[in-house]
Amino acid sequence: MLNIKGLKVKLEEEDKTILKGVDLEVPAGMVHAIMGPNGSGKSTLSYVLSGRSGYEVTGGTATLDGVDLLDMAPEERAAAGLFLAFQYPVEIPGVGNMTFLRTAVNAQRKMRGEDDLSATDFLKTIRAKAKALKIDAEMLKRPVNVGFSGGEKKRNEILQMAMLEPKMCILDETDSGLDVDAMKLVSEGVNALRDEGRSFLVITHYQRLLDHIKPDVVHILARGRIVKSGGPELALEVENNGYSDILAEVA
């Protein structure tokens, strides 16, 4: 599904290399987690994959089902099946949540050569999916993320994911700013989407989220490289001992 080889990335504005050769493969149907200390490049990886400006790829490749991601515009990556759940979902005053979602769903369908989803079908689908995430009609009508609490914003990200049905979902610190109940709700939303044909890359600081969204593989990203990979027990090791042991081991 997602295949990253020797990915090197620097900031466009300053001469600062963030990713120094990341190798990562997430097969279809798998959940991989990326953990790592602050500043290790976790969010940069998610932004570079989704096409945010401000980063320059200086080496390596990233493909989704064999298609070069790095060559595409953000909207093309989305239509190809990539989805990033933002760490800080963006507030867009004046754009209704429902309008936004409908525009996004239909824009992706158009790029894939499919017909628009009818208004009725769209409404039916979004109501069912919103209900599961405890998102009420009022929240759907409000401008995108404006006045939403931290938990509401994250639930809204998962709703977008559920509506867009991507192949490859990247969750960037989706647990940040969530209380225990909200984390459970969000995780349930994510787990409901787990499927043979869909993969997840879960970026997190804490093992706690991985109790709810159980990963197949855990990677440790440090100083711009994947320094260690292992099973779920690796996350527990980080939780108990921090990163220093692992970093010492691979130094």
Binding site: S53, P74, E75, F86, I92, V95, M111, V144
Partner: protein
């Protein structure tokens, strides 16, 4: 005529050149005297000049010159006429000439509609108390010579007296057919106590248009005004609204401007009765790539009563060398306590070539008021744009979503839902067609 007696100097030469092409319409006694008075006032002030404080940002040259620059009529056949889904009484002018055959029978309960060309001939007429009167009051402290020019020479216009609640909007449509048309129209509207009228205007009207609309809103009356200025790229327009508001009256005006080489919309409001409300809003969309675009909103609101509210919301989206101007003033006279004045002017600059020139002014002589103003100009929010694109919305469509979102606060000022929906859907389809 008095023109030849003017002293020889460049400003006056310009004025006499301008006046040489104008013909004073045949009028009855009251209109004749109002026009003579206006000519005398115009001779004293002269035409607007670049040194005038309120013409620093907008060159008056093309409005002053004797013959207008030609403007090719615009082909609107790609869409239904604006407001055509709204049930309305249509009054149609083509190049400033009233088209009776194309217009509706102006019979509407509680509303008397006539033409300046007819009413001006009648010796006693209710409009005599207003024609040129509100315009004259609006000349202080800032002279508005083009409005005076209009009072002097306006060939026609609509006189509307409203005594009840109008069942449907009155719609003045200005069709443009002659590439050289130079049109001056002057409307006078009086809403009697408790009356209620929605007036909509649309269309380019002429190569060069000059309008004056004088509106008296009596106690407890409500006037709603929505205007769409036509998609013609080459047209030039100087419009003026002069309104006087009575106790507990409501005045709301919204203008949509897309395209137009030059548009100057002036709005002068006297809030004279306690508990009155005045809202003025505008949304402008200018693309210099499609032709010259210069858009100027000049607003002057005077508060002279207790507990009144005024609100100005002006939004402009500019690209490819388009220019936007906003000059908005709130004057609170001594004793106008509990005034709530709000003024917002914002420009979204879609590139580095466009400019927004803003001059917000507050002048307050009462001590118990709440007045605020804010003026901003900025680029599109890149983070929000990326967020939309990351969900699969193509860049240009994402930009358009944000353009509509930016204009929303001004569009929200339109009270009538059907009219608001029409404006909204047109903006969307214009933006979409631009992309296609």
């Amino acid at each position: 005529m008095a023109v030849s007696a003017l002293k020889p100097n460049p400003a006056m030469d310009a004025l006499s050149a301008r006046l040489s092409g104008q013909v004073m319409p045949k009028s009855g006694a009251w209109a004749k005297s109002a026009r003579a008075d206006a000519l005398a006032r115009l001779s004293a002030t002269g035409l607007p000049a670049r040194r005038d404080e309120y013409w620093l940002f907008t060159r008056p040259d093309t409005l002053n010159q004797p013959i207008p620059k030609p403007a090719a009529p615009f082909d609107h056949s790609d869409e239904d006429p604006i407001f055509s889904k709204v049930d309305r009484v249509r009054l149609i002018f083509t190049d400033g000439v009233f088209d009776q055959a194309a217009s509706d029978d102006p019979a509407l309960a509680g509303v008397e509609i006539s033409r300046l060309a007819d009413g001006g001939q009648v010796d006693v007429h209710w409009a005599a108390d207003l024609y040129g009167v509100l315009e004259t009051r609006g000349q202080k402290p800032v002279a508005r010579p083009l409005a005076t020019l209009n009072t002097t020479f306006a060939s026609d216009g609509v006189l509307i007296r409203v005594t009840g609640k109008a069942a449907k909007p009155v719609c003045i449509t200005y069709r443009h057919a002659d590439p050289n048309s130079d049109v001056l129209l002057h409307h006078v509207i009086r809403l009697e106590p408790g009356a209620d009228l929605t007036l909509v205007e649309n269309g380019a009207a002429a190569a060069r248009l000059n309008t004056v609309m004088e509106v008296e809103v009596a106690d407890g009356a409500a006037f709603h005004h929505v205007r769409a200025q036509g998609r013609n790229h080459e047209r030039r327009a100087a419009t003026h609204i002069f309104a006087r508001l009575g106790r507990e009256s409501i005045f709301k005006s919204f203008t949509l401007t897309v395209n137009g080489a030059l548009t100057r919309n002036e709005c002068v409001i006297e809030v004279n009765g306690d508990d009155a409300v005045a809202h003025i809003a505008g949304a402008a969309l200018g693309d210099g790539a499609a032709g010259e675009f210069h858009h100027d909103d000049t607003v002057f609101i005077t508060h002279d009563a207790l507990n009144c509210e005024s609100r100005q919301v002006f939004k402009k989206v500019l690209r490819n060398g388009a220019t936007g101007v906003f000059q908005g003033k709130i004057l609170v006279r001594p004793g106008a306590q509990k005034t709530d004045g709000y003024q917002k002017s914002q420009a979204l600059l879609l590139d580095g070539d466009s400019q927004f020139l803003a001059k917000p002014e507050l002048e307050i002589y009462a001590d118990d008021v709440a007045c605020s103003h804010g003026s901003t100009s900025g680029a599109i929010d890149e983070t929000a744009l990326f967020y939309l694109r990351s969900r699969g919305v193509p860049e240009e469509q994402a930009q358009d979503l944000m353009v509509i979102a930016f204009l929303a606060e001004a569009l929200d000022e339109i009270e009538d839902e059907a009219i608001g929906a029409d404006i909204h859907s047109r903006l969307e389809s214009w933006l979409q067609r631009r992309r296609d």
